[in-house]
Each structure stands twice: as structure tokens, then as C-alpha cells.
Amino acid sequence: MARLIGPGDRVTVRAAQVSHHHRTPWFVKGRSGTVQAVHGAFPNPESRAHGGTGLPKRRLCQVAFRQTDIWAERYRGGSDDKLLVDILEHWLDRG
């Protein structure tokens, strides 16, 4: 079985456009970052928002993106500046 995504792993957020409720901000879709922490598993809001049970629970990963990778030259600040976003594991691919 493949190892679970964990801290230090390089990941890319899926660029999927979905019409149901989801909590993956548009500005990180398709962007790559590094997993900073895994908060544990939580009921899936994509199911709960539409009357579902939220099960199975999904692991929630905090992913760190470099601001300049997201906003490119629009970003005014240091190249070390980061945006940390909590993203459910099923939105993440390795690499």
C-alpha cells in the first residue's frame, strides 16, 4: 500500500472545477507546495454540505505554498513568504 502523504512531501493540488460545495480555494488549485503538517481526519464537508454523513473521514493536510509561486510578480514581499492552506487529502497528488 502506498505510504500516506505526510510532512515534507511535495504535493500538487488538483485543478478540478466542481459544482458541489468544497473548501479548496481557487488560488491553490493546480499549485504545488510542501506538506507542513497533517491535522488528522475530519468528516468530509463535500458530503456533509449536501445531506451526507461526511464519512469516510478525510485527512486534512496543511500545505505551505510560496507566495511567489501563487501570485508571481503580483506578489510584493520576500521570496520566503508563504501561504499555508488546510486542504483535504483527496485534493492532493504527490509531486
Binding site: 488560488f27 491535522h39 488528522g40 510584493r76 508563504k82
Partner: protein, 202 residues
């Protein structure tokens, strides 16, 4: 009603919003999704907390190194030591500002906020302007709050998109050696725990 049409607003916008909220509350109770007592309990719990509660946690972390470590590792358990029982709707994470790294908290999707330690969020925290600009141009936002970050300091904007609420542990101000925990708590502002300001000086 055809899509794109809206019912005419008979009252000011605020009143329309209040009417909608009360209608949603009534529907949730009618359908048995929540009980009236449960709604009241959540409202009372939120109203019972103020930034003074978060400030007590910060002052303890400033004066007790072992507590600080426990707070950063497992915030729920650590604040429990001070008598704060967090509900299980959300987790709590405390992020520490240092000489090298500054944290700023935002919820870009709605207005998630550590209400269990700070009470209700300020209106600006819920505004579209803050929620958009805090991620795109956070240094300009900090400038408008009166904070100039040195270029070499790393700025981490933390977006609470899901089940974790974030509280900033601000830096202890210089010149506060020897101050009591109680006096230190008086220096910890709401804004310093969101990350748009430093703690006050002595």
C-alpha cells in the same frame, strides 16, 4: 421565481439579513436538525468569550516555557489546563511569532475564527476586502494596521479553510522582564492574536 430575480427588500439590508437568519434558524429547528436550546448554547458560549481569554493563554505561554511547548504541540489539551473546554466542532492550533517568522490569520472561504478563545470576530475580519487582500497583499494589509515587517522576515499567511482554528502567539514585548502573568495579559490585544499587530509595549 425565475433565476436571477430577487424578492423586493422591504427593509434595510441588515434587517433583511436578520430576517433570513431567523428563518433559517426556525427551519433548522422545525426539521429537527438542531434544537432551540442547542442554538442558544452555541450563542451563549460564543458571547461568554472575549479576547481576554486568549490573552490569559498567551501570558501563560510567555511565563511558563513548558506550557508554551505543550500549547504549540497540542493546543486543545494545553488550554484545557487553564479551564477552557473547547467544543468538538473544530480543532485549535497555536502558531508562534518569532524574530524570524510572522503569522497572519485569515479565512478566505468564510470567517472561521477561534471563537472559543477570542469570542466573536471583528467585522473587518469577515469583510471581503480583508479575506481577499490578506492572501494577495498581506504586507500592505499589515502596513495599514500599522505594522512594518522587515523584508527579511518571513511572513506566513495561514488560511483556515477547514476544521482547524488558528491563534497567534505574539512575541513577548521587550522590557517586560519581571512583569506578572496578569500584567502581561493586559498587553495582549485581540489584533496581536490574529497577527495584524504586535502585543502592546509595557
Amino acid at each position: 421565481m425565475a433565476s436571477g430575480e430577487h424578492p423586493p427588500l422591504r427593509h434595510a439590508d441588515r434587517s433583511a439579513r436578520a430576517t433570513r437568519i431567523l428563518a433559517i434558524r426556525a427551519l433548522l429547528i422545525d426539521k429537527g436538525v438542531v434544537g432551540a436550546a442547542e442554538v442558544d448554547d452555541v450563542v451563549l458560549r460564543a458571547q461568554a468569550r472575549t479576547p481576554a481569554d486568549g490573552a490569559k493563554v498567551v501570558a501563560r505561554a510567555w511565563t511558563d516555557e513548558a506550557f508554551r511547548e505543550r500549547l504549540l504541540a497540542d493546543a486543545r489539551a494545553a488550554v484545557g489546563e487553564l479551564g477552557y473546554r473547547l467544543s468538538h466542532d473544530a480543532e485549535l492550533s497555536v502558531v508562534e511569532n518569532t524574530a524570524a517568522v510572522h503569522h497572519l490569520i485569515v479565512c478566505t472561504l468564510c470567517s472561521c475564527y477561534p471563537t472559543s478563545l477570542l469570542g466573536a470576530p471583528p467585522d473587518w475580519y469577515k469583510s471581503f476586502a480583508y479575506r481577499q487582500r490578506a492572501v494577495v497583499e498581506p504586507r500592505s494589509v499589515l502596513h495599514e494596521f500599522g505594522m512594518e515587517l522587515p523584508d527579511e522576515m518571513e511572513l506566513r499567511v495561514v488560511d483556515s479553510t477547514a476544521d482547524v482554528r488558528y491563534l497567534v502567539l505574539p512575541r513577548r514585548p521587550p522590557g517586560t522582564e519581571g512583569m506578572s502573568e496578569h500584567a502581561l495579559a493586559g498587553l495582549v490585544t485581540r489584533d496581536s492574536m490574529i497577527g495584524v499587530a504586535e502585543a502592546r509595549g509595557p
